[in-house]
Symmetry: C2
């Protein structure tokens, strides 16, 4: 199985990206990689790591898309960038199954839509990070920022895609799909939500369990959280923000011998906690609704997270997630037409 890696996207590109790629190769014998970006630099980095694996192919691309680029313009003006070259290769070559990029979110999403194309029946692909729950499971938050203005019908697409994802990739029999709202009651929500609620109730292919509140995102009571991209982004970042704040306050409060000793004894507990709540450690956010697998790694990804994202692509491919999403979407369309 061959996976494409954009070596020049992200705050720690290219060295951490390439390090993560090599890490993934060492983890999994079944995969090989196509690394896109400046050929010489990639070569050098691989040499530094003592890696001359035959399972690595380099495709040269001299430009780099940055966060300062306007995504849609970068598609035209930076055709020789690592991201665009990677996406074009992914589209053209049947042997390539998916892409990992830690580059500009806007550019990765826009590029994926324009180059790979949308799955038939999906008007708006969505970014869907997987968050760890307090009960030790996972929950998919879809959409968390690909679409800042969504129509009610888009939220139904998100629900169908998210449901298929959790069913096939995470083997959850009948994923509980909930709508992120300002209360659990059926009538809660803004206009968009109220309309989406009605549509979700009528969508037979999913297990819609009703509205939920952001307080319960990580409770483990749900498998798929459906939301428009704006509110989803706010939820995701607020969750992150509180985690950052708690660790920051905690650090400041540890003063004096007693507290310091306590913290030392609890070192493993804190390490475990950090690992448990930092969803970036377990990979990136799948971009669902395009014709091939795309995983967007966090911009601040280091090698470990890139490696996890590559393994995520592998898992998604092994469970035929694209075909399964396509089938779920098609099934729903047939029902609507009948």
């Amino acid at each position: 199985m061959k996976i494409v890696v954009d070596a020049f996207g992200g705050d720690y590109a290219p060295s951490e990206i390439i390090k993560g790629a090599v890490m993934a190769l060492n983890c999994e014998k079944d995969i090989s990689l196509v690394i896109c970006g400046k050929h010489d630099v990639i070569k050098q980095e691989l040499e530094k790591l003592g890696c001359d694996s035959e399972r690595i192919e380099i495709i040269d691309a001299q430009q780099v898309v940055t966060n300062d680029d306007i995504p849609t313009e970068a598609l035209k003006s930076k055709k020789d960038s690592s991201l665009i070259v990677a996406l074009n290769a992914l589209k053209k070559r049947d042997d390539l199954v998916g892409l990992v990029s830690a580059g500009s979110t806007g550019a990765v999403l826009a590029g994926s839509i324009f180059i790979l194309g949308r799955i038939k029946g999906i008007s708006r692909p969505a970014l869907a990070p997987i968050l760890p729950t307090v009960t030790g499971g996972e929950v998919l938050l879809i959409d968390c920022g690909a679409n800042v203005d969504s129509k009610p019908a888009c939220l139904v697409d998100f629900a169908i895609m998210g449901s298929a994802f959790m069913k096939y990739v995470y083997k959850i029999e009948n994923p509980r799909v909930a709508l992120l709202s300002n209360g659990v009651e059926d009538k809660k929500g803004n206009e968009l939500n109220k309309e989406a609620f009605k549509l979700l109730k009528q969508t037979s292919g999913i297990n819609f369990v009703g509205n939920m509140e952001a307080r319960d995102c990580l409770s483990g009571d749900y498998d798929v959280l459906v939301t428009d991209g704006f509110a989803g982004n706010v939820a995701l970042k607020a969750l992150e923000g509180m985690a950052i704040s708690i660790f920051s306050v905690l650090k400041k409060q540890i003063k004096g011998f007693k507290a310091k000793l306590g913290a030392l004894l609890m070192k493993n507990v804190f390490r475990g906690l950090k690992k448990k709540i930092d969803y970036n450690q377990s990979g990136g956010a799948p971009f669902l609704g395009v014709n091939k697998i795309v995983v967007k790694s966090h911009g601040s990804s280091k090698a470990k997270s890139i490696c996890a994202s590559i393994l995520q692509v592998m898992q998604m491919q092994k469970t035929a997630v694209i075909d399964n999403i396509k089938a779920s979407v098609a099934e729903n369309e047939v029902e609507i037409n009948n």
Copy 2:
């Protein structure tokens, strides 16, 4: 200074509410209270607490508004409820300065608008909790749920009210007002936000510093976070949710002698942390934009939190927050008209 307390709103009403009221009386010699609700029950509770203060007046109200009531209907059908009687007293009597209620949010907000009336120039009053920041300060989040569908101009009102609140009540010279968005760049946001951004840029009475992300809600970089009620509610509850999740995971991870000893040594640190991040401990959320002071306490408020809410009303009255908000709103209107 006389403050009204709705004794029959909240999960722990009436006993914890009345306990909190007595606590506030003991804290502050300058205040007296009007407690609304079933006269006999209130009398009994006060006796239990050994309180026969002359600074307490009881107004009888036999009905109770619950979370199951539809707010607008409760206004008509439950005229003898503790909440409605309290609001009517607050409206009619000049000696009463504000209300504290831990009852149904919808009923408190709807009742406040219908009975107390809106401040001239404010079409949509807003719920504005004050959150503690990691730098030891406070930030006001406005709106966090009073309006689930807002127009861009409403967000300008929120900014003006929030700014006046932080300036007068928290003595912040030039409050930094930011717009909650999905990125810090000027062009980020959904349609509502983009439009609001333009209007906020043109509003001269406030110190608008641009867009901010939910990740930085508690960073201490802002004094007022402006948002529509839906996104604000999502942000607030996601922040709460992550705090709950972290404590829950932490608890589970403390296993074995070493970790348990560490936790014991860190007891005060955790207590301090909990106190610091639990904004409910420091009172309730002011409901800004109506003609008198209203503080909505959390439904799960216990005595301490009710006491804090009463002291909050006192502080707001001492700093003439209503008059100051009125002046700020009027000033902005004059500018728009010129």
